[in-house]
Amino acid sequence: MTDHHDGYEPADPTDHTAGGFEVGRRTLLRLAGVAGVLSTTSLAGARVAFGNRRSDDDDGGRNGDGNGEVLVVLSLRGGFDGLAAVAPVGDPAWAALRPNIGTPERAVKRVDDTFGLHPGLSPLFDAWDDGVLAAVHGVGQASTSRSHAVATAELERAAAASVKTGWVDRVAALGDAGLLAATQVGNPALPGSATGPRDKLAVGRLASMNLSVSEEVVPLAAWQRAIGQLHADARPQVARPTSAALRGVATLRPLADRAADDEGEDAYPEGPLGDALRDVARLVKADVGLRVVTVDADGWDLHAGAGRVDGGALRDRLQVLAQALATFRGDLGDDFDRVTVVTVSEFGRRAAENGSGGTDHGRANAALVFGGSVRGGRVYGRWPGVAGDRLVDGDLAVTTDYRSVLAEVLSARLGVGSAVFPGFSPARLGLVEGR
């Protein structure tokens, strides 16, 4: 739920410039957790088979019966401008809609008769040409709400209002899912899609998945037993998060220690999205039983000052997004073959720009689908058009329900069936290879 607005990096106690911090908290954690570090330095391999062993302390990290496939849901919060990102430069009505902040034909990477990719996405152009990145246009939801809160709630519930769980919770309900089957990374708070009774993990920064009291003084198992007793009669709102956190520490502490020690430079962009995807890659490589990972990228609600195609707020955000995803692919290496990233957003932007160099809330959007099994290099969906008579109240019409995109990945890759989206019959798009 929580996230940080565009351009704002959460203050990091390890950043000596942010407020003149004297001692990095991470250093403190490491000093306090010396025993933990010592016990895990022998872990050298890229893939740690947590999934197949039962920890002495806890079974929280059990792989469950997942097949190793991971769906990464990237929530572009605020209303992504799919029209700018995958611009309909071949649609004769397009250019006139955005005379100041448009994505003109001359600026894009042309991908077919209708569409071109915004130059801000250039770090992903290779992926497009390699056939691991696709787009679906005219994607949206049945809700016509232009309210962030309402549209987000409906997007994340992904079912009739009578259903009280989010769709990610319903994935975690299937089969023998472990604690990490549904995990939020980056933003510490769980999204609405995780609403529901099954335990999930939220990892702010992987390096922080540790306890500040040294294992040498108090073993984790002692904390777990004591807090379990302390919270035995507590309401689940109190008991569940702490219990899940300690189980998460039991599983992830070795990875956390390695992440904390990893000072190496890499190409992830600075900021929450790059940090999150770096940690997701670590978790994927360690094969800890992930099924659905949720990651937030905020800052798309550009009502004003979106900037021009060659510079400005929107271009900068697209570049960060593309750089983060392109780096993620390289970081994963062969593991990219079992990962599929899908972008979602509560709504798109209105087709025409407004008077303040931005766009207001619209309807349909473009979704990006990125992964080793994606049949990429093309734009899927039925193009609704942006001519005046094709728009609905000034907005791009919805021609593909976003659940069809998710359902296809869940079904073809994760082997997860229709229970995730009750009452919904997905259209078949052919986006990804079956396993």
């Binding site: 407020g19 309210s147 962030h148």
Partner: protein, 625 residues
């Protein structure tokens, strides 16, 4: 519109702004329908308020906490009348005055062209925003008083006999400090709470000490701009650190809770690059100034504050292609709520109405050339908005219309009930509070009195959960840390909240941080909690906070484990530990290599104290409010 007809006695003061099609309550018929606010609009000069004039006397430059100083003309009598009906009439009239003087001021001020809302931003003095200046005259009541509501329950403070003092303190403070419960029991909860509802009457040496650590928060926007580089986050970091510091140490606890509450209701995120020079003024001149005053005045002050104009883009919305951002959030988040029955057309027309503003040099500027003209209908509100000069009076009338809508009354009532009573508060309570809000002409104090007097509050133990910021503040309070002498300790405490997802004031969108447990079921935040409590108890971090460490926790620490558990329980829980708490502490300590008995002042004794305290501060009672 699909709104339910107003109830008798509710919202009578808004009908002057509404067209005949909006059902006027029968009780109000013929009373002030001729109130001329939208009649002279066509001839109202642009300069509707003299923003450059002297402020009302008695508003000294007291810096960032001036919102806590007495309002020079408090709308609420310091000693509330027992008769709630009188209370309601009083407030309703004063709001009426505001409307009348709004029109009069508009007519009288004269002048044309661009007006700069300068005062609050340059002087550091009391704010003088659109409605504020318009409403500054409290003089002669013109027109017939509206009929008092038939019954206005809860206008006076009368705490229920069965309200536990501990529950009251958990809800209206950031957590118990050692001795607070006894002190309040001794003074009497009713008297204590009366003081909290009148924060200016309270001495606040520790809050003042924190204020002195951040003298820059009293700077005007011009001073900030002359001293710092554009985009510098200094002011916002200082604001956040002071916010956390006051939450922990101020004696005006309820006021600080409400500042956080309204900061979220009318959210302008901090830190955020484009409000680097104005956000601290928003805190002082909008939130703190009105936190216990009139919602209508707070709403009006927020609307034209440069920070809000920037965040929600009304300062960049012009002409016939308006930016809808502010208009949408004004309806959805600030006032009537998303289910009030407005449609996309209403949003667009409201956006048209709010064109004309821009922010220049950190100042709000009304530029008539950018104001769209033409009749505006939004929900039940209509205005001819016939000339560019009529723009601001029309905007003011619209804000006043919204503030007085029954749906807004329910929005505010429900949100306060969610803050103080339960995640899903009883409808009966919400309706009652909404009536008090309406009868009081949007005054906040009567609503709070009714809320704290309600049986629903007394019956709500265990129904609210502390969010990460509240948990951290409560932990520092119970540990009784000395008020910091060094800003660094507060910066560190503030920044520590980022990984929990609850950095104060930083929620990035218009709706503010959620305040229901279901939104905070985060293992990541729970882990932060375990680690921050461990660290605070041990006084590991923040090092410059005035933490006393485990040695200071007990005056005369016992020499064996079980006795330490008992003593630590009494110290941090304020009572003997429950059997489950006792057993869990023994489990924890038995799982370590610490001995069961130890020498006085030994390392083992200190660590046993620290671990027992850490565990108890993670108990369900400490995680609830």
């Amino acid at each position: 519109m699909s709104e339910a007809p107003p109830q008798a006695g509710s919202d009578t003061s808004s009908d002057a702004l509404t067209p005949p099609t909006f059902m006027a309550p029968p009780a109000a018929e013929g009373q002030h329908d001729t109130m001329p606010i939208d009649i002279p609009m066509d001839t109202v000069p642009v300069r509707i308020a003299r923003f450059d004039q002297e402020h009302p006397a008695g508003t000294p430059d007291t810096g960032p906490i001036q919102g806590l100083t007495p309002d020079p003309q408090p709308r609420e009598p310091a000693d509330p009348p027992a008769d709630s009906r009188a209370d309601a009439v009083e407030s309703g009239l004063s709001r009426r005055n505001l409307l009348l003087y709004g029109a009069a001021g508009a007519a009288a001020a004269g002048g044309a062209g661009t007006v700069v809302l300068r005062s609050i931003l340059t002087s550091g003095n009391a704010s003088s925003t659109l409605g504020d200046t318009l409403g500054s005259g409290r003089s002669p009541i013109v027109g017939t008083p509206k009929a008092p509501a038939a019954v206005v329950p809860g206008g006076a403070l009368a705490l229920p006999k069965d309200l536990s003092t501990e529950l009251l303190l958990r809800r209206v403070t950031y957590g118990l400090t050692p001795g607070l419960l006894d002190d309040v029991e001794r003074a009497g909860p009713q008297k204590w709470l009366t003081g909290q509802l009148d924060p200016a009457s309270l001495k606040d040496p520790d809050g003042d000490a924190i204020g002195r650590l951040f003298p820059d928060l009293s700077w005007s926007t011009e001073m900030v701009r002359s001293r710092l580089s554009p985009g510098d986050d200094k002011m916002m970091n200082d604001l956040g650190a002071a916010h956390v510091g006051r939450a922990v140490w101020s004696s005006r606890q309820l006021s600080e809770v409400l500042v956080d509450f309204w900061s979220n209701h009318l959210n302008v995120p901090s830190p955020r690059g484009d409000v680097w020079d104005t956000r601290h003024r928003y805190d002082a001149d909008v939130v703190r100034r009105h936190a216990l005053g009139s919602f209508e005045e707070m709403l009006v002050a927020s609307a034209v504050h440069p920070a809000m104009l920037t965040f929600l883009d009304a300062g960049r919305s012009a002409g016939d292609k308006p930016n809808e951002n502010y208009a949408r959030e004004l309806l959805e988040q600030h006032t009537v709520g998303v289910d009030a029955g407005y449609d996309e057309g209403d949003v667009r027309r409201a956006a048209l109405l709010f064109t004309g503003w821009k922010v220049e040099g950190g100042q709000a500027v009304y530029d008539p050339d950018n104001h769209w003209t033409g009749e505006v209908r939004v929900m039940g509100f209509t205005h001819p908005n016939a000339t560019a000069a009529a723009g601001r009076p029309a905007q003011l009338a619209f804000l006043q219309y919204l503030a007085n809508q029954p749906a807004t009354a329910r929005t505010v009532a429900r949100k306060l009930a969610v803050r103080f009573v339960a995640d899903d508060p009883p409808d009966s309570l919400v309706e009652r509070l909404a009536q008090v809000y309406t009868a009081g002409g949007t005054a906040i104090l009567p609503v709070l009195r009714a809320l704290f007097s309600s049986p629903e509050l007394a019956d709500s133990a265990g129904r609210k959960f502390r969010r990460p910021f509240e948990r951290l503040a409560a932990t520092v309070r119970v540990l009784d840390a000395d008020v910091p002498k060094d800003r660094q300790g507060l910066f560190d405490l503030y920044a520590w909240l980022a990984p929990s997802g609850h950095l104060p004031l930083a929620w990035p969108r218009a709706d503010g941080y959620p305040d229901v447990a279901s939104a905070w079921l985060s293992p990541a935040a729970a882990l932060e909690q375990v680690n921050t409590v461990s660290s605070l108890v041990h006084a590991w971090w923040p090092t410059k906070l005035g933490l006393r460490g485990p040695r200071a926790l007990l005056q005369d620490p016992p020499g064996d484990r079980d006795a330490v558990v008992e003593a630590v329980g009494r110290r941090v829980l304020g009572r003997a530990p429950t059997p489950a708490e006792r057993a869990s502490a023994r489990t924890l300590l038995a799982g370590t290599r610490l001995p069961a008995t130890f020498a006085d002042r030994s390392w083992e004794q200190e660590e046993t104290v620290a671990l027992a305290a850490t565990l108890f501060l993670l108990s369900p009672s400490q995680l609830s409010r």
